[in-house]
């Protein structure tokens, strides 16, 4: 069994390594100190289990689990935490296994035996209780996972089954629905049409065509977007607020 230990604290990592050695439960193939490293390591190697600390700088454990799920050979995830009220409530409510630090040997053994993979329902429940939305959008591309920082996204556009993410360095297809993206990023994004969700800080001008249609031009994109009547008033309201 190949195990990856992810924790930003060195003593926490070495303790887990010691415990796993004692149990002879598997082989610790790598250590990571943030979520980004976990994703990279899991793409390079076939990892069976990730021991994932919730509180890490950069990308935290909950967001990392969300992206990990998209990998082809997604590893099982065991969360570890010293104290995190909100996450613990979610874990308990949705039967997600977790380990409390300092971790007991028996508990670790138990969790490793379970080899639990998060279901979609469990993940969404976890995400809802998490205080902040995932900072990255992840897309499955050839050869692995591509991460786009949410701050770099200009807009999301839905076509057929897929959503295209237009960001500062190009575009990429993802499988999430506009509706769930809108729910998650409602603070910084606004729906302008049934098929488009736009970053509020990218709004430039609202134009009216000869035939009475409204279009939106954006700061960092050549493309113009159609604004539907249904969303017109909320777009106007937010642009007015921005110009003040």
């Amino acid at each position: 069994m190949k195990i990856l230990i992810a924790d930003d604290e060195l003593p926490a990592r070495s303790r887990l390594r010691n415990l796993i050695d004692d149990l002879q439960a598997g082989e610790v193939v790598a250590e990571a100190s943030n979520g980004q490293q976990v994703l990279n390591l899991c793409q390079e190697d076939n990892i069976d289990i990730v021991l994932l600390d919730i509180r890490m700088p950069g990308m935290d454990g909950i967001e990392t689990a969300h992206h990990l799920k998209k990998l082809e050979n997604a590893p099982a995830v065991i969360f570890t935490t010293a104290y995190d009220e909100y996450a613990l409530q979610a874990f308990d409510a949705h039967a997600i296994d977790y380990l409390l630090k300092p971790i007991r040997e028996e508990r670790l053994q138990e969790a490793l035996n379970k080899n639990q993979r998060l279901s979609q329902a469990q993940y969404s429940a976890l995400e809802k209780t998490s205080k902040k939305a995932a900072q990255h959008i992840s897309a499955r591309v050839q050869g692995g996972l591509k991460l786009i920082n949410i701050d770099d996204v200009i807009y999301f556009h839905a076509e057929h089954k897929y959503v295209t993410v237009y960001h500062q360095a190009g575009q990429v297809l993802i499988e999430e629905s506009l509706k769930s993206l809108q729910e998650r990023y409602q603070q910084n994004f606004i729906r302008v049409h049934r098929n488009a969700l736009v970053a509020i800080n990218q709004l430039q001008t609202l134009n009216r065509s000869n035939i009475g249609h409204f279009t939106l031009s954006l700061k960092n994109s050549e493309n113009t977007l159609e604004v539907s009547r249904r969303h017109l008033s909320s777009v106007r309201k937010i642009m007015k607020a921005l110009s003040v």
């Binding site: 930003d8 604290e9 060195l10 003593p11 926490a12 070495s14 303790r15 010691n18 100190s33 943030n34 509180r55 700088p57 950069g58 010293a82 104290y83 995190d84 409390l100 630090k101 300092p102 971790i103 205080k131 902040k132 900072q135 701050d151």
Partner: protein, 355 residues
């Protein structure tokens, strides 16, 4: 017999042996003497003034006599309940009034009065004394209750505001110690000692003040534990408080929670870590200490919300200790978060003269 502070607090009568109380008694007695002089309806003003002198003298004798008696038996009184104390002091006051009335009769009035008038005089004084003493005792009782309530409230508030060891820090430290026990037992030992010191400080009396030197030592114990956990690559500390006097007093555990905030909401969220700057200045008898930490790009608001509780507590504590001239202010700038404490420069000598 000298009373302990606790015994003295339990007694509702104020301490009549104190100079301040003697002064209060004289004022109350004199006001009462004015009332007695002004009360009779038709009286020529020269007689009224003459009477004022005599009445004042008499009333002051009664008042100060009662105060002296109560002062003398104060140590004996505390063993009784409030009701018993009230009855005893009431009787004592009446007894003093009768004695002084009788004395006045023998010294001044016995040539002008027959025995009928003598008894009238005693009875009148007794009734007036009985009517006045009751409300006076009641006034002392109510005032005592009021003062005790205020004291209890501020004590409770201080207790509630006092910095507590946070669970996040505690469990992470335990985990660090569990890990080090195997690989570096010496360091594990040191971490346990430091943790014990921090705990002891957080359990101490809420009114306690440390010298800046002591508080800094405590902060360093705390930082040593965090350094074991985060490593000196991620956590760097820059102390710059040499210009502050070592003997200045600071409410215990005021600076430490600010460092904890700086680590929890700042350093820990940065992949690269960062430096916490602690700067101190003494300006015109005011001490100013600031704690500054870098912030991750997206966390400026989260920091503010997260640290709010601890900061509000510190602000309230400073206000409770120093009323005005003390406080806490926050600035966020260019992904840097800075909290500044201000409070008056006081030393232990100041504290002794205060109480």
């Amino acid at each position: 017999m000298k009373l302990t502070k606790q015994q003295s607090d339990a007694l509702f009568l104020p301490n009549f042996c104190s100079l301040r109380m003697v002064f209060v008694v004289v004022i109350i007695a004199q006001l009462f003497a004015f009332v007695l002089t002004l009360a009779p309806l038709s009286q020529p003003s020269d007689i009224r003034w003459q009477n004022l002198g005599l009445i004042s003298l008499f009333v002051q004798w009664c008042a100060l006599g009662s105060a002296t008696a109560l002062c003398l038996i104060r140590a004996w009184l505390y063993r009784f309940s409030n009701t018993q104390t009230a009855v005893i002091s009431y009787l004592i006051m009446l007894f003093v009034i009768i004695i002084i009335s009788e004395g006045t009769f023998w010294l001044i009035l016995r040539f002008d009065m027959n025995s009928q008038q003598h008894w009238n005089f005693l009875l009148r004084n007794f009734i007036v004394g009985a009517i006045i003493s009751g409300p006076v005792l009641r006034y002392f009782y109510v005032q005592h209750q009021w003062r005790r309530r205020i004291q209890a409230e501020s004590e409770a508030r201080l207790q509630a505001l006092q910095a507590r060891i946070r669970p996040h820090f505690l469990f992470n430290s335990m985990n660090t110690i569990a890990s080090l026990t195997r690989s570096q037992p010496k360091q594990a030992e040191m971490a346990v000692e430091n943790l014990a010191d921090l705990f002891r400080a957080s359990l101490s009396d809420a009114r306690q003040r440390f010298t800046l030197k002591e508080e800094q030592e405590l902060c360093q114990r705390y930082l040593q534990i965090e350094l074991l956990r985060l490593g000196d690559e991620r956590l760097k500390i820059n102390w710059n408080i040499d210009s502050l006097p070592d003997n200045a007093l600071i409410p215990a555990l005021t600076l430490q929670p600010l460092l904890e905030n700086a680590i929890y909401h700042g350093i820990e969220l940065l992949t690269e870590g960062g430096t916490i700057e602690i700067n101190g200045e003494l300006n015109d008898k005011q001490i100013e200490i600031s704690v500054e930490n870098p912030l991750p790009t997206s966390a400026a608001t989260a920091h503010q919300e997260g640290s709010q509780l601890a900061q509000d507590n510190i602000h309230e504590r400073l206000q409770t200790f120093y009323t005005r001239h003390a406080g806490l202010s926050v600035e966020t700038q260019d992904h840097h978060y800075k909290v500044t404490l201000t409070f008056p420069y006081q030393t232990e000598q100041d504290e002794d003269t205060d109480s």
